[in-house]
Symmetry: C2
Subunit: 333 residues, 2 copies
């Protein structure tokens, strides 16, 4: 077993045909007789031939690679999202160049890598691009879709949950179930996601006749939920419910409440956001807002593929409502 890489020319020689014909078998598939096709496939099998995707990409300008830039992968919501993107993209014959970004704003060098590798499109989850970065991608004919974020003055497509609506619904639900003293643990307020959830929630609560909401700003982590809840419960303010910006924060809040001797939901109601698998665990049984991940992922991929094939840049934003999932962390009084 030698170690030389085998090319279409090797296959052609062994099969006694031209290299072009081999290429046709693996490419268009047309214009090749049944007999030669057979010979070629046999020869390829013998040699262990695999077409070189790089060479192909060089000439076709189609690498069949999609860059996924993901932040916050420690939040269980995102592995689930990644898994679904992988499934959906590979169904369409695409591969994933994975980039784990650490910042809210995707860095220049990360953009550079995506351009260098000539990915056909990029999905950005839970992060943003400067508009100059968007321009660079577009200039390099790379389609872009934001996932779970959008930009006010949109220069690229986006798929997200209607956070404003969701925030409202959660506010209404807590009002309707008889709560009087509200707190909200938000994520950092530099993201559309956080801002909209907050705005919707506040509006609904105010409309329900409650003027004061105790607000803490966290960073969507368990620890920040834990700390924020402690602060709220130790503040002396009366509080009978907390809306948490995401599930993992809510789990932290529940643990903090328990530690301080509060019973959830009897003394304190807690609502999360995302509906991660853990929300369902009996220790928490978290009432939360379900983001329709499947639909969102499918939509994002569809948008991306459309952009890739159509070449013109329509900017489309798609929002999904999602739905309240009632479990056991809210007391309906």
């Amino acid at each position: 077993m030698t170690k030389k890489k085998v090319t279409s020319t090797d296959v052609a020689k062994l099969a006694g045909v031209s290299q072009s014909t081999v290429s046709r078998v693996y490419g268009s598939g047309t214009n090749v007789s049944e007999k030669k096709r057979k010979q070629i496939l046999e020869a390829a099998e013998m040699l262990g031939y695999q077409p070189n995707a790089l060479a192909r990409g060089l000439i076709t300008n189609k690498t069949r690679m999609i860059g996924i830039v993901m932040r916050n992968i420690q939040n269980p919501f995102y592995p689930e999202v990644l898994e679904k993107f992988h499934k959906c993209l590979s169904k369409h014959g695409y591969h994933i160049l994975f980039i784990n970004s650490e910042h809210n704003l995707v860095g220049e060098d990360e953009i550079n890598h995506l351009i260098e590798y000539h990915v056909e499109g990029v999905i950005i989850t839970d992060a943003l691009l400067t508009s100059s970065a968007v321009q660079r991608l577009i200039k390099n004919e790379i389609a872009v879709v934001l996932f779970n974020r959008y930009i006010e003055n949109p220069d690229c497509s986006a798929v997200f949950c209607d956070n404003y609506f969701a925030g409202q619904e959660i506010g209404r639900y807590l009002i309707a179930s008889g709560h009087k003293h509200f707190a909200f643990i938000s994520g950092p307020l530099n993201t559309s996601t956080s801002i909209d959830r907050k705005k919707g929630f506040e509006e609904a609560v105010h409309k329900g006749g409650i003027s004061d909401i105790h607000i803490e700003i966290g960073n969507y982590s368990y620890e920040s939920g834990f700390e924020a809840a402690k602060k709220i419960l130790n503040s002396g303010n009366l509080v009978d419910c907390i809306f948490c910006g995401n599930d993992i924060t809510a789990l932290g809040a529940i643990d903090a409440a328990k530690q301080l001797g509060f019973q959830v939901p009897n003394d304190l109601s807690i609502v999360g956001f995302d509906d991660i698998t853990m929300a369902r665990w009996p220790s928490y049984s978290l009432t939360t807002w379900k983001q329709p991940i499947d639909d969102m992922v499918n939509a994002a991929v569809q948008l991306l593929l459309d952009e890739i094939s159509e070449k013109e840049n329509k900017v489309i934003t798609k929002s999904f409502p999602g739905e309240l999932v009632i479990r056991g962390s809210v007391k309906e009084k």
Copy 2:
């Protein structure tokens, strides 16, 4: 702002030099005068030039891509691993082609993709390769390292935690802390990982004078831990401790125990494996075995890079002991 992709030839023209010289600036960096380098970088900046990694890879046979095949990404252990791999690999200038495998055995088509894209190396986490798959990768000069698994008759390198030792230590610890009635919730017994943990644990427990261990086989998920624990606790067998094959299983077991009215650790001790972040959460406060992820990831990357640069295939396996992390889920009687 036009949309034509800019190449080194474009840069050369604008800078008034030859394409070769542009290439030298971005490649070796040698043999180019300070003056021309400056002109070139300026021109490149103006045009927004990025070298084409595919074309480069085609000629150099170095794509600077590493394939990561990951299974079970819903288990929080693996996102953490992925994040660290990303960090370590990008520090070395490598990029990740991400593949989410659904099976214990990596499929032929997944191998094909890795070969097609000419990744320089592959890291397989929590899955195995048939030896014919290994041979195909090697024939295509792709280095392979298994992470968290090894093969009995090794044809590729591997990095893992010494599961046999860890199992023993956990057994000894539970014996030493006065437990008498043992149960074990294993992962599927077709993996080295599971087999070794089980073997070590059983040996230590037997050596401690206990002959019976109630064994259940799960699949390393929360749900399977939950169900298995219920089965154990409802079996009528007396049980005062359960060792769970991984943390997520242990969390399920804890929740099941609580639901059945058992107090952890007073009525029942529980030990996990991995030390995922959630093990630290107050609701669980799980005593567990810490896999030294950082060291393991660094070792895996180092092994891979060595294999890539040395071209000869030494098969090296590296095991790490890890350590017991004592929290609150075990009663020391």
